[in-house]
Structure formats: C-alpha cells, structure tokens
Amino acid sequence: MKPIRLVIVAVGGQGNLLASSVLGEAALLAGVEVKMSEIHGMAQRGGVVESAIVFGDAKSTIISNGEADVLLGFEPSETLRALGKCNGNTVVITNLSPLPPFTVAIGRGVYPDIENVQGLIRSKVSRLVAFDAQALAKEAGNVLAVNMVLLGALIQAGIVPVSADHVRTAIKTRTKQEFLESNQKAFELGFAAAGQAL
C-alpha cells in the first residue's frame, strides 16, 4: 500500500498520544502496516506535542516538511505553525477553539486572528475542515474529549486507511471505562460534524 502520512499537532494535555494510539490500534485491526513517532519530552509542561503516523509501506516513522497527506490540528495556532508539513494536496483538519500560549498572557506575542488563519490555510492546501471541536466535546459530556471529536472528523475525511468501525473498536480497548461513553459520543459527533463542514 502506498504510504499515507498523517501529522497530528496538539498542546500538551490535549490527549493526542491517546488519539495516535487509538489510530495505531485501529490500523493493527485493519491489517494495515503502521508506524508512529512522537516527541513528548515536555508534553506535560504545556509545550507542543507532535506525532507522525505513517500508514502503509514505508520504513520511516517521521514525516518531512511538505510531505503530510493529512494534518490534524488540535489547536488553531498550532495547526498554522505546522503548515510547513503540508503541500498543495494536503487535507487539513483543525479544531478552531484556541488555547493561547502563556507568552500571549505576558505580552510576548499576539494570538493570530482565527478567521484569517482559516483563510490562509484554505488558500494553500487542497481542503480545510475547520470547526469547534471543544464545543462538541462538551456536548459529548467531557471537555477533554477533543481528541476523540477530531478523530471522528479525521475518519470521516476518508484519507487514512482505517474504517470508522476499526476506530470504534480501538476506542473501546484503549480508553478508560469511566470515559468510554463520552469518548464514543465525541467520536460520533466529530464524524458527523466533519461531514457537514466540507
């Protein structure tokens, strides 16, 4: 299978490692070769966490600039920061709910305008799916389920070679019992939302 390359960017604490492990598990279930790599040294201290997931026949576990087929952003300014990973054919899926870094609070930076961010991204890549994933996570009953909402949107976009059912099964095996219901709901809400956001 021709490799499909997915980059996920998030802020520490947003749960992107769980999202990647669910995707990895789903690929294993689907019988698709998968490799992932992540940098999580300072994740718990509020830094940026980046994961690369490569599906299909490739040996590399990291993704070079301009080579992502999909960029999944958990936070709009981080999606923008990672745009160098994209090319003209990349599909970008992003949460629109901002988490301004602390540098903004202490006056060492200005948070970009969200409308402007969307316009910029849309003009450079093949498709942008952008929506407020945090609102849907709340609706699902768990603000921390932004990761599952975005997974739903990713699967709905149809580029990564795992089916929604494989992901549903993986969510069951990989998430804690107490969050299972809200995670499942969040996934379905994200899946539906991305269908509409096209």
Partner: protein, 617 residues
C-alpha cells in the same frame, strides 16, 4: 498482568520502542535491571519497574548511572543476565566503570542501553555514543526499527555471553519514541540465583592484573570483529554500481528514498547493525566493485572515518563521502526528505522535491515554550529567592530537571548549566573568582545523583555559596521515578530505605541549613534571606510535593482560586509568577479553575489581596 509479560506467543502488538526493548530483555531472560532515568530511555525503566512487581525480575532505580552499571556488572559476574539502562550522557557518568569493566568482562550477559538523542529533544548535548565502542573496545548493536530492537536486544545478550564482554545497545530517540507492530515470542525464564566465584587475579584491577586483562580485551575485540563480519545485522541488499552504507533509523529513510526515486536496481545498500567493531572484511568486499559510496549516518562521521581507513589500507580509491557541506550535516537528526535529496544529488538522480506551501504570508505565531506546571512549587521557590536576593548581584548556576525551566523569563533564575550536579561544582568556581553572591539550584534527585561531592567540595574549600535544594519528592522531569529521598512506604512500595536530605547536608559539614515550605511566601523569603546572609556554605531545602505528581494521589481536588473585583490590574501575578493557570480575558486577569491547584502563592503575591478561593457551590 503487565502487558509486557504476555504469554501470547506469536501475537502482533503495537509497542512503543522502549516497550519493545523492555519486552526483548524479558524474552531474553533478564534477571536484573538497573537505571538512572533519562529521556529518551525512561519508559524502558518505568515498564521494567512495574514488571518487577509481578515477576522474578529484580529492578532498581540507582542513584546514578555509574552505580547502576556497577550493580549490573556485579550481577553479570555472578552469572545472571543483567541490563543497565541510561541516556547517552548517562554513559559519561558511568564511563569510569565502563572502561575497566571492559577489561574485566562478564560471565552472564550484560547489556548497556545507551539512548542517544540527536537534535537534543530533551538533552544538553547530542554526543554520538558509538565512539564509546571505540573508546572501551566493547561491541555495539544498533537497531533500525522498533520490531528489530526487540529481537536485537536478545541477540545482544547472546553476544555478550559468547564474548564474555558487556554489549552496548545504542538507540536514538526515534527508536525509543516510535511505535510499531511487534511479534511476541516466548519468554525465557531467567536464571534466578547468581554465584560469585573468587578470582582476584582476574577481578581486582591492580596494574599487574590489568596489563593481562588488556591483552584479553584486545583478543576479544578481534573475536568481536569476526562476529561483526558474520553478523546478520550487517547485511547487504540491492544491486548496482553505487553504494550506500547506513545505520539506525537512517536505514529506513534510505529504503524509502530508493523506492521514491525508483533506483533500487542502481544502488547497493549496506545496513550496519553491529557497528563496533565495524565489519572490515564485509565492508571491503562491498566496496570492491563500487564506483562511489555515500555514508548515511546521523551524528558524527563514525562509520565514514572507519570505512575510509579500511579503503586506504586496501588501496581502494573510490569516492567515499558522508559528512560535508553539500551532503550530510553532523547536526541534529535526519529526516526522509533530506536523505532523499542528498542521495539524488550525490548520485545524480533526476528528482523534483515535493512542493511545500508558501509560508511567507503566515503571521508570526506566539511561541509556546514548555512552562512549569500550574502550582509547581519550584515557581514559588524561584520567586522567593528572587525577592530575598533583590538588590544583590548574583550568579545562579542551575541543574537538570523541571526546574531548569526557571531560567525562562519572567522568573529568569538560572545562569549556567553543563551537566547533572554542575550547579554546585560550578558554584564553587564562581564564588572563587567573582564578587557575586552565588545561589545554586538543584533538585532532590539530581542532588543524590551528582550534587553531594560538589557540596562537600564547597564546605572543604570554604566557598561562599547558597545551595537551594528543590525537594519535591520525585524525579519529576523524566516521569516521576523515585529517588533515595522518597518515602517509598507512603507510595505503597515495601522494602526500601530512605535518605534524609537535611541529615546528608549536615553530615557534609554545612553549618547553616534552612528548611522552607515554598507555598508560605513571606516566611520562606525571610528564611532564604538568612541563608543568603550567611558567610560560607548555606543550604535551603525547599520542600513541597511536585504538583503534577501529587494530583495523582489527591482524593478530592483542592479548591481553586479566582481573581475577585478587588483586582486593580497590576498584573504582578502574571508578570512575576507566570503560572499557566492565569489568562487574560479582554483586559481582565482570570484563573482557569481546571488548571489551578489551589497553592495560593499568587494570592500572597497580589498587592490588593484580590485573589481569593472560589466559594464552594
């Protein structure tokens, strides 16, 4: 049951590189493992610690890497399989033991994991530990993938026993922190009981003994060279008149590049997995019919230098290149795109790089540096030291841990750092030659690891410095491992002792010791002032649990604080503490109740007393 103890032989599971390495060691029948935690190696240890709670594995967090290696060396010389785990710079700490252990050798297999960190994702340098193979004479194995790492570590134990020498198993971050599909194999039950047979004329390295042992080591290197020549880990694939020699993760990038460029029939690839000693004969026969060769290796030109020397001895004159201005860099890590481009350039292969998006009109995005957690006790201590030292000309050597982040503004506490423990040793030097007041910062775990000799030095040589020990009861940075100061019984682990930092400090001869609770701001500032005023060596022990670690034990979350109507917008809280629980909403300062741990430090800093606990609903 821990997932790494699964008996489900043949099943395919998704494992993190570090989990795969731990599983490989378990399958190999490892009896004892010792470590000092360090990224990117830490998850190997965390997993083995858990596994040791429910299996025959003996595991320990040692005070530092040197001790860890000594523990493993003794166990291996008592005949059991032993594993010492450390990050690349940890091998520097262990190097004294390593160099002479190579003379002495082992009986049971001993594998030393060196987790290198190209690009320095979480390290102070990116040294290439393959040179430790040359320096010590020990064999080095290097996997290229997560799945291979698990198989190769088993072989590392076998090679160690065949040669009766320790084997260095070298990984890089992209092996440790990559995830891949791994097939589980049978677990060999470990040999449980070791026995040490006295043989002082081979074990006690006085000069007369070592002169003999060095001869033995050189013989073993010869044997290792022949193992390397015949190793399945040093393998050739493809065909053609061009050649590439590569190792580690670069092998994956090379393989993908040859596919992408469609030149698999033009280029022969030599993947080196047994990299010390380098496989001389196999390399020479590889070079023989080639026109030109490219060496693809991250870090230093380790293979390049060796291969050039082999070629020179054999009178071969083909072009062998690797590190050069227009080829590969010695800096940072590689990536598939760079490797593809250099291969295409060097071998003159037509190639159009993927078009990246134009980033010229992207607005500046605010930086997101890592920050001490909300409620981190270090933030309070740094603030208090800063206040106590106001008006004094200071130099503040710092050390390695979460608290290194205190060097960032607005706290800006941290002026010099080179390695574990350097806060104290370098503090002695600053106090000797400058007129500044020296205030050194060190964490509890780092103090035990390498701070104590520096402190004794300060007392003996009568330096004028204040050492602030940030005692948060854990090794927080690497994922909350225990250290000798931790009350293990309180964490429900039996069978551990405990070393008191204050008794230790006093025993080192320190005359002035203050113990503070950093969440009590005023009291702490005045205690720190006293310590700073003391002529000579003084110590401040700032004791408060790591906020992130403590969160895991709290039954009920503490009460958060909020900014009340009394706020006059001085923003002292934000500008001086920079706790990430604060945010600005329009013009108003607010506190995120989810992040706030209720430490109340900001409430004591606010000049209007405007920060108050949230009323219970």
């Amino acid at each position: 049951m821990h997932k790494l103890l699964s008996k489900d032989t043949g099943s395919q599971v998704l494992l993190l590189g570090n989990e795969a390495i731990a599983r490989g060691a378990i399958e190999a029948g490892v009896r004892i493992a010792s470590t000092y935690p360090g990224t990117p190696s830490s998850e190997i240890s965390n997993n083995l610690f858990q596994v040791s709670q429910e299996s025959d594995l003996y595991f320990q967090f040692s005070t530092n890497e040197k001790v860890a290696l000594e523990v493993a060396a003794a166990a291996a010389n008592s005949g059991v399989r032993s594993l010492a785990i450390m990050k690349h710079v940890g091998v520097n700490v262990a190097a004294d033991a390593l160099m002479t252990l190579a003379y002495v050798g082992v009986k049971g297999g001993l594998v030393i994991i060196s987790a290198d960190d190209p690009y320095m994702f979480s390290s102070q340098n990116e040294q290439d530990n393959r040179y430790y193979g040359k320096l010590s004479g020990l064999p080095i194995l290097e996997p290229s993938s997560v799945a291979e790492a698990k198989e190769m570590i088993i072989e590392a134990f076998n090679i160690s026993e065949a040669l009766k020498e320790p084997v260095i198993f070298r990984t890089t971050t992209r092996i440790n922190h990559s995830t891949g599909i791994v097939e589980l194999k049978d677990i060999t039950p470990p040999v449980l009981k070791g026995d040490f047979v006295k043989d002082p004329f081979n074990y006690v390295t006085v000069p007369a003994v070592s002169r003999k042992l060095h001869v033995k080591l050189l013989e073993n290197i010869k044997k290792a060279e022949s193992l390397s020549d015949n190793s399945p880990y040093n393998r050739i694939s493809g065909s053609g008149s061009f050649g590439i020699v590569t190792n580690g993760v670069s092998f994956g990038y090379v393989s993908d590049a040859l596919n992408d460029l469609d030149i698999k029939d033009k280029i022969k690839v030599f993947r080196v997995g047994f990299s010390h000693p380098m496989p001389r004969e196999k390399i020479l026969s590889f070079l023989k019919d080639l026109e030109k060769v490219l060496i693809v290796e991250e870090g230093e030109p380790y293979m390049e230098e060796t291969i050039k020397a082999f070629a020179q001895e054999a009178g071969l004159t083909l072009s062998i290149r690797g590190k050069a201005e227009n080829l590969f860099s010695r800096l940072y890590e590689f990536d598939p795109g760079t490797v593809r481009k250099v291969i295409a350039d060097y071998f003159d292969i037509p190639y159009s790089p993927p078009e990246t998006v134009d980033l010229s009109d992207i607005p500046e995005i605010p930086a997101r540096p890592p920050n001490l957690c909300a409620g981190c006790s270090h933030r309070a201590t740094f603030y208090e030291v800063k206040k106590a030292a106001e008006g004094t000309d200071t130099v503040c050597p710092t050390d390695i841990g979460c608290y290194t982040l205190g060097f960032l503004p607005p706290l800006s506490m941290g002026d010099f750092l080179i390695c574990m423990g350097s806060s104290v040793g370098s503090g002695c030097g600053f106090s000797a030659v400058t007129d500044k007041k020296v205030i050194s910062f060190i964490g509890d775990s780092t103090f035990f690891h390498a701070g104590i000799p520096g402190l004794i030095n300060a007392v003996f040589n009568n330096h004028n410095l204040t050492l602030v020990i940030l005692d948060n009861g854990t090794t927080a940075m690497t994922g909350h491992q225990p250290n000798p100061g931790v009350d293990m019984a309180a964490l429900q682990f039996g069978g551990f002792g405990k070393v008191s930092i204050e008794q230790m400090v006093k025993a080192c001869g320190v005359q002035h010791v203050e113990i503070i609770e950093p969440y009590k701001v005023k009291k702490s500032i005045s205690a720190i002032k006293e310590a700073l005023d003391f002529e000579g060596v003084s110590v401040v022990i700032s004791r408060e649990a790591c906020a992130l670690f403590a969160k895991g034990f709290k039954k009920k979350p503490s009460r958060a604080f909020h900014v009340s109507g009394k706020c006059k917008n001085h923003k002292d809280c934000i500008n001086e503490l920079a706790c990430p629980a604060f945010f600005i909403d329009g013009e108003e300062v607010k506190i995120d109740p989810v992040q706030c741990t209720g430490c109340a430090v900001c409430a004591q800093v606010c000049p209007e007393n405007a920060i108050l606990p949230v009323k219970e609903a």
